[in-house]
């Protein structure tokens, strides 16, 4: 068969379909919107940006409250100090975050995208600057179409200068999560930042500038995996933003005093404001689309129009597929219950593990050069103990070993002293009578206990090797 037969050609997308599927997207100028959800979004952005920019300045016990101290390999989270050995907790936190995302997505759609995602929050902040400098949507579009002039250059330069300053400040605050903020600020004012800190400051600053200033909705469309797979978490009872086609169609403009029913029209006046306010440039009236980040701007603007027309609000609203079809929404459905149960179980487990956490670590390594040797008529094994003091105070630990009758340290009465944060290596020998060994490899347990705090105790298992039986 000829590979160039016409059927193959027609099965390829026609230029028209191509253009609508992958339209070369022009710049989107979202129109400013006021209303309940816009206020909620501003409030959420203020709180989240406030947390991001202020948290590194908060002190706790004489140190930065939240500090991912990478150079010292420890994370401070308020009263908690985590070490690389506590990697499990971070994994736990990530799992919690993932399940919380699943749960809230199934329940209420893309709440995260619309209100809390850093991409949305910083884009909104950048849009705010853009509006302050360049004016409204129409003024921005006019400015971009106009040829370069002194005024245009001044406005563009001002906007980018503010954006860049804001981005660099954001980059600085990002680095302040990894290097103490106060120290970093002093060194910045002395022009004494380290090369890596400078690199990350500019890297994060550049990412902020690019993502919030230019990429914007393209990040949601092309870069966000969540936007692509969130649909599998949706069902007919998930809260989505939707246009009520049964009420709105057929659409058409009309005078405010005419009865739309007489003209055979629905409630949608086809003012296209919902399209103009959309930060991703979609028409919500086309139905649920993956580009919709659930920001509810279209709800606010449509409600304004409905008020002006004296129609009831909610032509575009938070609703569910079931409700749109005239049914009822089921909040408590298996999906929600299962996600909820997993989430609660994970939270409980995490809290329990955290409460059981002992701030001392013990690793026991058997000597690699010699399996065992005979000493003083007994079998002797040599180990290397790694004691990690994860507490904020210096401790002295006593050591016990058990698991074989009569097993004992070659030099009894060892006390291991470890400063806060120190990893102490202790080589030591352990002896047991050959007759007491049940096999050539017997598990034994080492336990260290802090001298003045019996609760500060941890144990680790190792093998005691002997002659073949």
């Amino acid at each position: 068969m000829n590979r160039f037969d016409p059927a193959v050609k027609t099965s390829a997308p026609s230029p028209d379909i191509d253009a609508t599927l992958y339209e070369k997207s022009g710049k989107i100028y979202p129109r400013q919107v006021h209303g309940l959800f816009a206020t909620a979004r501003v409030a959420a952005a203020t709180v989240l940006l406030g947390i991001f920019y202020l948290l590194p300045w908060v002190q706790w016990d004489g140190r930065q409250a939240v500090l991912f101290d990478l150079p010292a390999r420890k994370f401070y989270l308020f009263g908690l100090t985590l070490w690389p050995q506590d990697f499990l907790y971070l994994t736990f936190l990530l799992m919690l975050a993932a399940y919380a995302l699943f749960f809230f997505t199934a329940l209420a759609g893309r709440l995260w995208c619309g209100y809390a995602c850093p991409q949305t929050v910083w884009t909104d902040a950048f849009l705010w600057v853009e509006r302050k400098v360049e004016g409204t949507r129409q003024q921005q579009m006019k400015l971009d179409q106009a040829p370069m002039s002194l005024r245009k250059f001044r406005l563009k330069a001002t906007k980018h200068a503010i954006w860049i300053a804001f981005s660099l400040f954001t980059g600085f605050m990002f680095v302040a999560y990894f290097t103490p903020a106060r120290e970093l600020a002093t060194r910045l004012s002395d022009f004494a930042l380290g090369p890596w800190e400078t690199f990350w400051l500019f890297f994060y600053g550049f990412a902020t500038y690019g993502n919030a200033g230019f990429m914007r909705e393209q990040v949601c469309k092309y870069m966000c995996p969540y936007a692509r797979f969130q649909s599998v978490m949706f069902d007919n009872d998930t809260l989505v933003i939707s246009y009520d086609a049964r009420r709105g169609d057929p659409r058409g403009s009309r005078r405010s005093n005419t009865d739309p029913k007489l003209r055979g029209l629905g409630d949608c006046v086809n003012c296209t404001l919902c399209v103009q306010v959309c930060p991703t440039g979609i028409d919500i009236r086309d139905g649920l689309q993956y580009e919709c980040i659930g920001c509810a701007a279209c709800i606010d603007v449509c409600n304004d129009v409905m008020d002006k027309m004296n129609y009831p609000r909610g032509l575009i609203r938070y609703t569910t597929q079931h409700e749109l079809e005239g049914g009822k929404t089921h909040v408590f459905r298996p999906r929600i219950l299962v996600y909820g149960a997993i989430l609660i179980a994970l939270c409980t487990l995490f809290a329990w593990r955290l409460s059981q956490r002992v701030p001392v670590g013990l690793d026991v390594l058997h000597d690699r050069n010699q399996l065992y040797r005979e000493a003083a008529g007994k079998i002797e094994n040599v180990y290397l103990l790694k004691v990690i003091n994860k507490d904020d105070a210096t401790h002295r630990y006593t050591l016990q070993v058990e698991g074989i009758d009569g097993i004992a340290l070659a030099e009894p009465g060892i006390v291991i002293e470890a400063a806060s944060g120190a990893v102490v290596n202790v080589p030591l020998a352990v002896r047991a009578a050959e007759s007491a060994l049940p096999s050539s490899s017997t598990p034994v347990r080492f336990r260290i206990t802090a001298e003045h705090d019996p609760a500060l105790s941890v144990s680790a298992e190792a093998k005691f090797l002997g002659p073949a039986k």
Partner: protein, 100 residues
């Protein structure tokens, strides 16, 4: 079809994101996992490398992980596009010109 071809079915930002962004995330995860298991100070004995400190080692490690995963993604994106049909003129992309 080359990554920089602007006439393709998949927009350039999407292709760039496919290569750089996802691999950025993966490099972050790899860096976290690798360096929580291995202290760069301990690696000093095995590799002769100028003194860069831990922060420098993390950064270099991250960039290397990123380079590695991004190269593999770049090649993957390149190979995702179908090869030209047999007998097609060299340099012809997978879409016959008359459907454009």
């Amino acid at each position: 079809m080359p990554l920089w071809d602007k006439t393709g079915w998949i927009p350039v930002p999407q292709r760039v994101a496919a290569v750089l962004w996802i691999t950025f995330l993966m490099a972050g995860i790899a860096t976290g996992a690798f360096f929580s298991a291995i202290d760069p100070q301990e690696l000093k004995h095995c590799v002769s490398f100028p003194e860069v400190g831990r922060l420098g080692a993390y950064t270099i490690g991250f960039l290397l992980f990123w380079l590695l995963s991004a190269s593999s993604a770049l090649i993957a994106v390149f190979f995702v596009y179908p090869a030209p049909p047999p007998g097609a003129a060299p340099g012809l992309s997978e879409q016959p010109a008359d459907t454009r």
